[in-house]
Amino acid sequence: MSGRKGMILVGAMVGILAVALVAFGNPVNMGICIVCFIRDTAGALGLHRAGVVQYIRPEIVGIALGAWLMSLKGGDFRTRGGSAPFTRFILGFFVVIGALMFLGCPLRMVLRLAGGDLTAVFGLLGFTAGILVGVAFLNKGFTLNRTYNMSKVEGFMFPAMQVALLILLITAPAFIFFSSEGPGSLHAPVAISLIAGLLLGAAAQRTRLCMVGGIRDFVMFKDTHLISGFLAILVVALIGNVITGNFRLGFSGQPVAHTDWLWNFMGMLLAGLGSVLLGGCPLRQIILAAEGNIDSAITFLGMLVGAAFAHNFGLAASGAGATANGKVATIIGLAVVAAIGLMNMERSAEVTLKGDVSIGS
């Protein structure tokens, strides 16, 4: 499954799952959206009080647990951390600020394109530009340094947290908020969402599907491995949307989207750059966290807090467009993320080879 065929197959599966989840009740062009769903979960926990986006999304829980189980089965589960955890928290925070300016993570960007939402083209352009800037940082020697092994118990905390979220969803205690209107109220039945998440998580763990890695690896290494998954999602979801009647080509009136081209671009510029510096898109961060990567678990928390901030301070865009606060936050985010990029260059871009030879490059 780790070859090109496996990647295309998994991309196709993600496309089908996304279309199916919409048919079962998720918002249109939002079968799966990692950032939107983290935002909904943050709302359900009362971390923000935007009444229309509050629901513990079982897809997130499923993705994490599916990836966790698959990593245990395949021997990939390893607890490690210590690669600039707080910097990654900040990066995760601003990736979400950017994504909520655009209204979607890189995966939903592809699903919006597949639904005929042409405003997402500006998102894709911004995302690509962000990746190109990130690649320039990498080529100049950007690194958050290496991880180290940690105790196994530490690695089980992230999947345990996801189980706790599932329990809160099912038992629905009074202090958990559930939207009665808006996107948060639109969802597939819990069991279906959970199973879809489990399948997606397991498959993404196995193939290492990553939305930012696709364009990045193609640019850096002419490697088409990951981008073939990206394209497979686009093609299959597009066909699925045509079949289910959810394909509507155009700019205006698209579901949970706005037409402000500049801020669609800027939002995904921030999300793309931040994701490259993190080493993977929001989906990939969840998969890595489930495999025992503590830094990615911290990134997940950064995304959760970023989502809470986005709605507490009116930073997130809506169908009506971008907010003034959101524009300021996106600019601040670009400055912070660029500064993180500049301040984490290895002193020399020199490759040290053991065998006494240090080689300049």
């Binding site: 850096m220 290494f221 491995h225 490759v351």
Partner: protein, 70 residues
């Protein structure tokens, strides 16, 4: 001839591949690369093979040692 060894354990994507590329630019006859997970193992192997190198993989406990040769 013993090959020089590059340690990329614990590095985020795509640093293992990027560092391997730099090492091969400087030592075109080959290098050994020590990686800490299967993602980096497969990525480095795919990159090296695409450049026409042969890759041998040894399990070393939790890590993998890739011997990349002409």
């Amino acid at each position: 001839m013993a090959l020089n060894t590059l340690d990329v354990r614990g590095r985020s994507c795509p640093e293992p591949v990027l560092l391997t590329r730099r090492a091969l630019e400087q030592a075109p006859n080959g290098v050994q690369v020590l990686v800490g997970n299967s993602t980096a193992r497969d990525n480095v192997r795919r990159f090296a093979e695409s450049k026409g190198y042969k890759v041998q993989i040894q399990d070393q406990g939790e890590d993998f040692l890739l011997s990349i040769t002409r």
